[in-house]
Symmetry: C2
Subunit: 304 residues, 2 copies
């Protein structure tokens, strides 16, 4: 197995100003794996409960996800409920039922320990570190995190940062983590903590990739209708890391392409509830939207 992801598999209940859905397949590991499946096979390390639907297992398998690391534990699958604000940016958590996730202790199989590419979804930094202990000599490790861990587990998170190649954070998390107002200074300080690559996610404004000294601005695709923002960040990460693994090319030029692929996959994700749009993305759609991104940002030389 060359790309392993450790994250959540969940049932999400979402309300937006446009409507809602209950108990949809979700979770960081799910969005990541399905997004990555456009480029490569992913090995998913996660836990589900006895209520996890056969259809959902089949969906993951149909997306080339290796499920030997998906444990079924006694009890119910992790559930999360959220309500998005009018502007579709902010959201409130309505409930969190950890269920089987509460005692999740990811264990990698011998082949997963040999993975070249690793993604640590947004779980407790201590668990992320526990996964890193098990991987033998990965070529590229990326991690996601959130404000909660910056708040209550900063030391453990800093330990993870010391050991990863890339970290995904949003503007607010970057500022929280560093106390720097400027996203440029914040990213530089996070780089000094360890990762060469800091990907600042900015929702409908796209992302900025700080990759050693290279700075790359990738827009978000301008959509007429955002249905459900859930999973956008994990879809970005899945396509980004999946593309890097599939191409095996970590040059700054290819990291830029990976970021565009990440942003376009996030744009597909938010066009439907849960994974309903994401699961239907094929290479034709990717090539078309990649071309649209090129058009969106292209400009000629200045004759001055």
């Amino acid at each position: 197995m060359s790309l392993v992801v450790v994250g959540s598999v969940a049932y999400d209940s979402i309300q937006t100003p446009l409507g809602g859905r209950d108990d949809m397949l979700g979770g960081s590991g799910t969005f990541f794996s399905i997004a990555a499946s456009a480029f490569t096979r992913t090995s998913l390390v996660a836990v589900v409960g006895e209520d996890f639907a056969a259809d959902d297992l089949a969906l993951l398998q149909a997306h080339n996800v290796d499920l030997t690391g998906l444990v079924t534990a006694p009890g119910r699958t992790f559930r999360w409920g959220g309500r998005y604000h009018e502007d579709m940016n902010g959201r409130d958590t309505l409930f969190t039922e950890l269920n089987v996730f509460e005692t999740f202790a990811p264990v990698l199989s011998p082949s997963q320990r040999e993975s070249g590419f690793v993604f640590l979804g947004n779980i407790q930094p201590k668990l992320q570190d526990h996964v890193l202990e098990q991987v033998r000599s990965p070529r590229f490790v990326a991690a996601d995190t959130m404000n909660l861990w910056i708040d209550i587990a900063r030391a453990e998170l800093c330990e993870v940062l010391r050991r990863v190649d890339a970290i995904f954070v949003n503007d607010e998390e970057a500022r929280m983590l560093t106390g720097k107002r400027s996203v440029v200074l914040a990213a530089k300080e996070i780089q000094a903590f360890g990762p060469n690559m800091v990907i600042i996610k900015r929702g409908e404004h796209g992302a900025i990739v700080f990759n050693e000294d290279d700075i790359f601005y990738v827009p978000a695709y301008p959509l007429e209708r955002v249905v459900d923002p859930t999973g956008a960040g994990d879809s970005f990460a899945g396509a980004f890391v999946g593309y890097l693994e599939a191409t095996g090319d970590l040059s700054s030029e290819n990291v830029r392409r990976a970021a565009v692929v990440g942003s376009l996959m996030a744009s597909f994700c938010v066009e439907g509830y849960g994974v309903e749009r994401l699961k239907r993305v094929d290479r034709v759609a990717i090539r078309e939207r990649y071309q649209a991104f090129s058009e969106l940002t292209r400009f000629g030389v200045l004759d001055l």
Copy 2:
């Protein structure tokens, strides 16, 4: 005169988390004219009080601004005070002293009436319309506005929109004006009101230009230190319209270049208090930052 701008000339008092300054030269007409001066001569239609400093007049003249339309009226110059929030995005108005601006009724000279390019700064829509009545057959008219006018003078603003080629608004104003959540749908609806070109300003996230069917995403230059955001929008507009006037080329390719030039000029503006950085921008600095923008957004083809 080929480019005429109608706007405010003011003394601003600014507080930011980093510090502050009192009674600095400011106002939409000022920022616009100085930004445009990198490319072309601007004719400024505005009013100041008897307290307006000779140094400030000299500064405008040194920037190739025609001041025959700058009226000195009995009383004090327009004053505005504001305090920026910790994140440097939001701000509170501390005071507004309209002073001579209260009775401002812009009158264009015969040569100004022949202008090919017109910029209507953020003043009452009724006054913007009053200016439009005086211009004979402009080639390109752009206007700025704000939430206040959308709120209290929507009908007059819609009348202005019917008559302009381009409108500058931010995300929030675009949504207020149309009730559309998606910036794409909002921009399309504003285009239906009249202007072919809708420039959505997004502060530290750059801007999106909707130009007939063309959509162009221009980032903001990632700065390590933002000193004072005041005037960024007017600097964008000044460089944008000034560049279009200087080149005389309204093709979509050139509009994209103009937007990059606008965004880079806004980035210079916010690097200093008031106009202190903006006034020192030369063509060498513009060329360098334009090249930096190219680097920031460039990516190769996808081999998939």
